[in-house]
Symmetry: C2
Subunit: 247 residues, 2 copies
DNA sequence: CGGTTGGCGTCAACTGTGTTGGCATAAGAG
DNA sequence: CTCTTATGCCAACACAGTTGACGCCAACCG
């Protein structure tokens, strides 16, 4: 049993598995994502992943300290993909909107994986890169540091929180998810107006809305609010500058 | 083994456990909350809960269809407690703010339980009661139905999403959580300005902010935005009424 | 008041989980 | 080519959720 996991860079001897595959951290993470998609968020087990790789389960412990460590690596991968998909335009609001949607979408591409990883804050390289990028966009746009940090905080936590929430429902089995979605048109739509007047009155609207993510709506609200704060900050700075000149 | 779980109301014959306790759904849920608090979000096991109740693990299957079913019951309990703690004042914005904070806080009272339950939308009675209450507040305040439903959606999903996110970090072991929190003052604060200028410049602000929940900030932003929409809707209605009269 | 019934708690066992120590072997260093 | 040792495999451990069979006793009926 490995006393310590050998870091990927230092790995010299690559040996074929009994079934012929050659292992690596990235291969394991990719395969884990596939297993998660096929078997659900609780379906990633050491034995199953071993079988999918054509390797003994215990071999995984040569690459990761445990299933928990593997989970964090999967999270890093999702965050990394979001950053790779992101392109900047120069408009802070457009860029942050795009990045938020990219992160949200990257996690939702692998809902079963997202469920496992989204609440794990790891402080790994690509996660830090994302934070640096967001703060860069805000400070570059002229947000005062205190405001930039507040907006950053609301932005990143909302994005991750909604990624988790939305991934949660997507990660259900097809059967369970359809049951959940139909609930709005069955259970909720059939509540008698006598006991639940407000749900009854809006049942049709609810059924149309509740099956989609509100994240874009919330994101735009946050960004518009930030834009308003930026305008105030600019006015404030301009007023100060005028006062400075006229002294 | 029970072919079917007997519903709590229909339960007639209550028999003492070998160790003297008398079981019930609520006793099991209360005990489960205690076990979760003491042993963490992964520490709720059938055997451990059985031991805490002074009963055989398999007895739980007389009350719940499985650990999954028990989990949903725990979620219902948390939502119910939030509603019980809630009092209305007549101001829609004050009331919704209070309800959001109540739900958020109720889940955070039992972070380990919240982590397990928050992404499970069950459609159980008290969950429906909460939905009816929120829609009632909004429609009572004069929101047009379409707007009310949009605000409701953003409100409830944000609240649950942040409850999940924040519970996630609270549910870590004390040791792990302190490591996480210190990361802002250690790892992030020590990133060289050469590679991470923006994080380096705001490290002090970050360390002060990131260890608290942004939910209240986001909630206020959402509610203020809703208030603006309500004013527009009122103006619109007033204009229509004037046009009606002058015809 | 006693007999009967069946709801409910218990026991033992099944499958599947993460994880570990020991071992064989082939890849790469010399 | 030989030698080291990293790396993959095997077997086993403790623990998980779950289930079927069993028997006791609370509650109902006469």
């Amino acid at each position: 049993m490995p006393k310590q996991v050998v870091p990927e860079q230092a790995r010299r001897r690559r040996r074929k598995t009994r079934q012929g595959s050659v292992l690596s951290e990235t291969l394991i993470v990719q395969t884990a994502l596939r297993v998660l998609r096929e078997h659900g968020s609780t379906g990633l087990t050491a034995r199953r992943l071993g079988a999918a790789l054509g390797a003994d389960p215990s071999t995984l412990y040569r690459y990761f300290a445990g299933m928990d460590d593997l989970t964090r690596a999967i999270g890093e991968e999702l965050m990394g993909r979001a950053l790779d998909d992101w392109t900047t335009t120069g408009s802070w609001q457009v860029d942050l909107r795009a990045l938020g949607l990219a992160i949200h979408s990257s996690y939702l591409q692998h809902p079963q994986a997202a469920v496992l990883t989204v609440s794990r804050v790891t402080g790994r390289p690509r996660e830090i890169a994302a934070d640096e990028a967001i703060l860069g966009v805000l400070r570059g746009a002229g947000f005062p540091d205190a405001t930039a940090v507040r907006v950053y905080h609301a932005f990143i936590d909302s994005t991750l929180a909604f990624a988790a929430l939305d991934a949660g429902s997507l990660a259900l089995t097809d059967e369970a998810r359809e049951t959940d979605e139909e609930m709005w048109s069955s259970t909720y739509a059939r509540l008698p107006a006598a006991t639940h007047p407000h749900i009854a009155a809006t049942a049709r609207l609810l059924a149309g809305r509740m099956t989609h993510s509100v994240y874009p709506v919330v994101l735009d609200t946050l960004l518009n609010d930030a834009a308003a704060q930026l305008r105030t900050a600019r006015r404030h700075r301009a007023a100060q500058a005028r006062a400075e000149r006229s002294r």
